[in-house]
């Protein structure tokens, strides 16, 4: 650990996580991790997936017990056996996936489990407190609104309010911006700064470098369960942080070459569809993807992107409108018909839908191709062809697996995605529909997947890239379709796109 270089001694830390070690079967998630958090600072924990960030805060919040090390709060060692203890000590957490009762109002949710409230819910007193805290920190939210009617960012505010009302002095936020638009993220950062001004400490977990530089006062970088360094944000640069996170230099803007467009890979016209609850989710979407270009679809989750992908790939019925692939109409065709038209699909829920976890890596590599030669001969599977193909794919795409026969669920998220890309791209599709292809993946896997998608584009495929990561969309796309409320807000060429412009369109403003 580096010490700050100021001449005067640093302020006494509010919280010290000292030499924390936490092992899980087969892995040391935290290896003698020491982090000091001061009052009034935003302390970022930066690291790739599996670096041990979430494990560390789960130890702090009492969800995990450390195997070694101690937690020192306000100069005194404390034992945190359960979240209850953490709350009593003034440590609150905003989880990645919100724990709210959707049918209840904001005030009722905040009351849940709050000690000292009366049996009758919700009391006016709590509503007053919510309004008061909301005003103080800029967390505006109507205490009487039912949670289901709130946007994701409002739900996040409710989670923060819950923690504050329980007297949290130290607030832990686990990947809080992954569900927010850029503007909403700016709003959250403003809230966090207000909180630190009032003396709260914020522990902010992320793997996004821009955010860290925007909001953090100090940064602790973790890699493979160990602390690489703690440094003031003012002294840190993006490249330097990336190198510390990954352990090598990282290319932020993948190289792109100009590709001649070769006709339409995909055209959708006036597409309408319903979501799982039977409500309209797509309201007349029209756009086209040329062969040789990447069209990014930007939007906050739940604005019709999922339904759009499913309709195009034959997994959901269109209630109106038409879909063409390479000039051939596939509207409401089966998933198999769309596949045979030359469409690869990298599904959003890669573990739930993209693989069969209990089946082998080799079988998963032919999951969508088993019925075609050479993998099938008549009614029989050609096992030599399957295992030969698996060995080639494992080598070509760098899938880390103990053997082609290992069950696919034994693979890490990055390797599962490599497996899916190997299967989908090796079929040389004319159109690739990629839904959130790098969500939750670390920098190395993300880099590789970006390279693969760009290469497929250079080989002449059209690529429809749906992502919530605006940076990814901006880095890869030739054109960007922005969606809001099931409609296209506009289609912007990459040369004219920037975060602010796209971000505004994502909130429903037409250019």
């Amino acid at each position: 650990m580096s010490r700050p270089v100021e001449p005067e001694p640093p302020p006494a830390p509010l919280l010290v996580l000292k030499e924390i070690t936490k092992r899980f079967p087969g892995v040391v998630a935290n290896d003698r991790v020491t982090v000091e958090v001061r009052a009034g600072e935003v302390h970022a924990l930066l690291g790739e997936n599996g670096a041990g960030k979430t494990t560390l805060v789960k130890v702090l919040y009492g969800i995990h017990q450390p195997d070694a090390g101690e937690i020192i709060l306000r100069g005194r060692p404390v034992h945190i056996r359960a979240p209850r203890d953490a709350l009593r000590l003034g440590i609150g957490m905003v989880p990645q996936h919100f724990l709210l009762v959707r049918r209840h109002t904001v005030a009722e949710n905040v009351c849940l489990g709050l000690s000292g409230t009366r049996a009758l819910l919700p009391s006016r007193q709590v509503e007053r407190r919510i309004a008061e805290l909301g005003g103080r920190y800029g967390l505006a939210v109507d205490p009487r609104a039912p949670v289901w009617s709130l946007s994701i960012s409002e739900q996040q505010r409710v989670e923060i309010l819950k923690a504050l009302l329980r007297g949290a002095e130290i607030l832990i936020l686990d990947e809080p911006t992954s569900v927010l638009t850029p503007q909403e993220a700016q709003g959250l950062f403003a809230v966090l700064r207000r909180m630190t001004e009032e003396g709260h400490a914020v522990i902010f977990i992320t793997h996004k470098l821009d955010e860290v530089l925007a909001v953090a006062d100090r940064i602790t970088v973790l890699r493979k369960g160990r602390v690489v360094d703690t440094l003031p944000a003012a002294a840190a640069g993006k490249r330097q942080l990336a190198r510390m996170m990954v352990g090598r230099d990282v290319e932020f803007r993948p190289a792109r070459t100009a590709v001649a467009l070769r006709g339409e890979a995909l055209r959708v016209e006036d597409l309408c569809a319903q979501n799982d609850r039977g409500l309209p989710a797509l309201r007349g979407v029209s756009f086209a993807v040329q062969q040789g270009e990447i069209v990014g679809v930007a939007g906050v989750a739940g604005n019709g992107q999922r339904e759009q992908v499913e309709v195009i790939t034959g997994l959901r019925r269109a209630t109106r409108g038409r879909v063409w692939v390479l000039g051939q109409e596939v509207t409401n065709g089966t998933a198999r018909a769309v596949l045979e038209a030359g469409v690869a699909h990298i599904p959003e829920e890669r573990i739930r839908a993209g693989i069969v976890g209990t089946m082998s890596v080799a079988e998963n590599l032919v999951l969508r191709r088993y019925r075609y030669p050479p993998f099938s001969r008549g009614a029989l599977l050609n096992r030599q062809a399957v295992s030969g193909f698996a060995q080639r794919m494992i080598a070509t795409y760098g899938i880390a697996t103990p053997s082609p026969r290992a069950p696919a669920r034994a693979l890490s998220g990055g390797n599962i995605q490599r497996l899916i890309l190997a299967r989908e791209l090796s079929a040389e599709p004319a159109l690739v529909v990629a839904a959130h292809p790098t969500s939750g993946l670390d920098i190395s896997a993300t880099e590789q997947i970006h390279t693969l998608l760009l290469r497929r584009r250079e080989e002449g495929a059209g690529i429809l890239l749906v992502s919530e990561d605006l940076d990814e969309i901006l880095a890869l796309s030739d054109r960007i379709v922005v969606m809001f409320g099931g409609e296209v807000m506009g289609i912007v060429p990459a040369s004219e796109a920037n975060r602010e412009r796209i971000g505004l369109m994502m909130t429903g403003q037409r250019p």
């Binding site: 829920e349 839908a353 089946m359 999951l367």
Partner: protein, 379 residues
């Protein structure tokens, strides 16, 4: 998690020896619980088990009875292994057995099929009618989302009352002096048995061949691949463009047909007539669920588990004769076994390791760690 010197970890891959060990332990627990029943009956449990062993496994004359009971259990059980692999919860093997028996009886007694072809026609008719009985709930599930557990179970009662009505009414045999039986089958419609036993070997061969065929189907064919994907992850099957209707119909065609064959064997090889449904099938269709469950999705393993259940059925006879207990005590046994097996299911995803003091990793755990570059604990 650590309990004293023992470390309990989640396992990522299943191992055969562990599955076998846990299943055997579950069986032992079931036997111990059954001991309580013996004891409450005034029979010392150990003496009861002694009598059962001497009366079945150690008695040359009784051994074939184990095989005889295993035949319908194997046929129905292999079908259920297949159905369960496709996540189709077929509780209807009992009804499919009865339909097979009914169709075989029609061929034996009322059809103009020449004698030389009679047995073949009986097996064919039994397969088809069992299959039809199995396809109805499959269609209901995929077309109208009718829960197959309910529909297959209810179809059992339809089959039961159909047989009951036939033997009391239109098919009641004039030669049977008022008993609710059909007439006895002609010799050409009797399945040959081995010497002095009740082992109707053609049905047994069919069962073994079917187990091998289903194993081949699952491992080596395109249809088997589709069945496995459909069963292991229906959502991935949708994504892979697999037609759930086609796989389910294939599975239930084979499962229902196999159970139908079991019914043919019972009337053609044992009873030589259609009689009260509860005498045709002694609950083989339900016990086959245990056969399939114990086989853990492996069709060849069903040969062994069918023999084991055959042993339980045979010991039911011993208990009745030697210990004067009601014959239905086998149902209690079967219930206890299934209960303990399902209870042991969760234990299969854990690994127990002796690791006094140290926190070192087992070789298997280390291999897992290598396989996953990013630990899953950080999610």
């Amino acid at each position: 998690m650590r309990i004293g010197p023992v470390l309990v970890e989640r396992r990522t891959a299943s191992s055969w020896s562990w599955t076998l060990g846990v299943s055997l332990l579950a069986l032992l627990i079931a036997l111990a619980l059954a001991g309580i029943i013996f004891w409450s009956y005034g029979v010392a449990p150990l003496r009861a088990y002694g009598v059962i062993f001497r009366g079945t496994l150690l008695n040359v004359r009784a051994l074939p009875e184990i095989v005889r009971n295993a035949i319908p259990l194997l046929l129905a059980g292999v079908g259920l292994v297949l159905a369960f692999r496709a996540l189709f919860w077929n509780i209807g093997a009992e009804g499919q057995i009865l339909l097979g028996a009914t169709a075989a009886t029609w061929v034996a007694l009322f059809s103009p099929v020449p004698d030389g072809w009679k047995l073949l026609a009986m097996f064919a008719a039994g397969f088809v009618s069992g299959a039809v009985w199995g396809l109805i709930p499959a269609l209901l599930k995929l077309r109208f989302a009718v829960n197959e557990v309910i529909s297959t179970l209810m179809m059992n009662y339809i089959a039961l009352y159909l047989v009951s009505w036939l033997v009391h009414g239109p098919w009641k045999g004039p030669e049977m002096r008022g008993f609710a039986f059909t007439n006895a089958f002609p010799d050409a419609a009797r399945i040959p048995t081995i010497a002095d036993t009740r082992i109707h070997w053609p049905t047994l061969l069919l069962g073994v061949a079917l187990a091998a065929a289903v194993a081949f189907l699952l491992a080596r064919t395109r249809a088997g691949f589709e069945i496995r994907v459909q069963g292991e992850n229906p959502e991935a099957a949708r994504y892979a463009g697999i037609d759930p209707l086609r796989t389910t119909l294939l599975v239930m065609l084979l499962a229902g047909g196999a159970a139908g064959l079991a019914g043919v064997g019972e009337v053609g090889g044992i009873h030589h007539r259609l009689l009260d449904p509860n005498q045709i099938s002694l609950g083989f269709g339900y016990a086959a669920i245990i056969v399939a469950w114990l086989a853990r999705g492996n069709p060849l393993a069903a040969i062994g588990t069918a023999l084991f259940l055959g042993f339980i059925f045979a010991s039911g006879d011993v208990m009745r004769v030697a210990l004067q207990m009601p014959a239905r005590v086998t149902d209690v046994f079967n219930g206890l076994i299934l209960f303990c097996l399902i209870g042991s299911e969760r234990a299969l995803s854990w690994r127990v390791r002796w690791a006094p003091g140290g926190v070192g990793l087992s070789p298997a755990a280390r291999a897992d760690a290598v396989a996953s570059e990013a630990p899953r604990s950080d999610r």
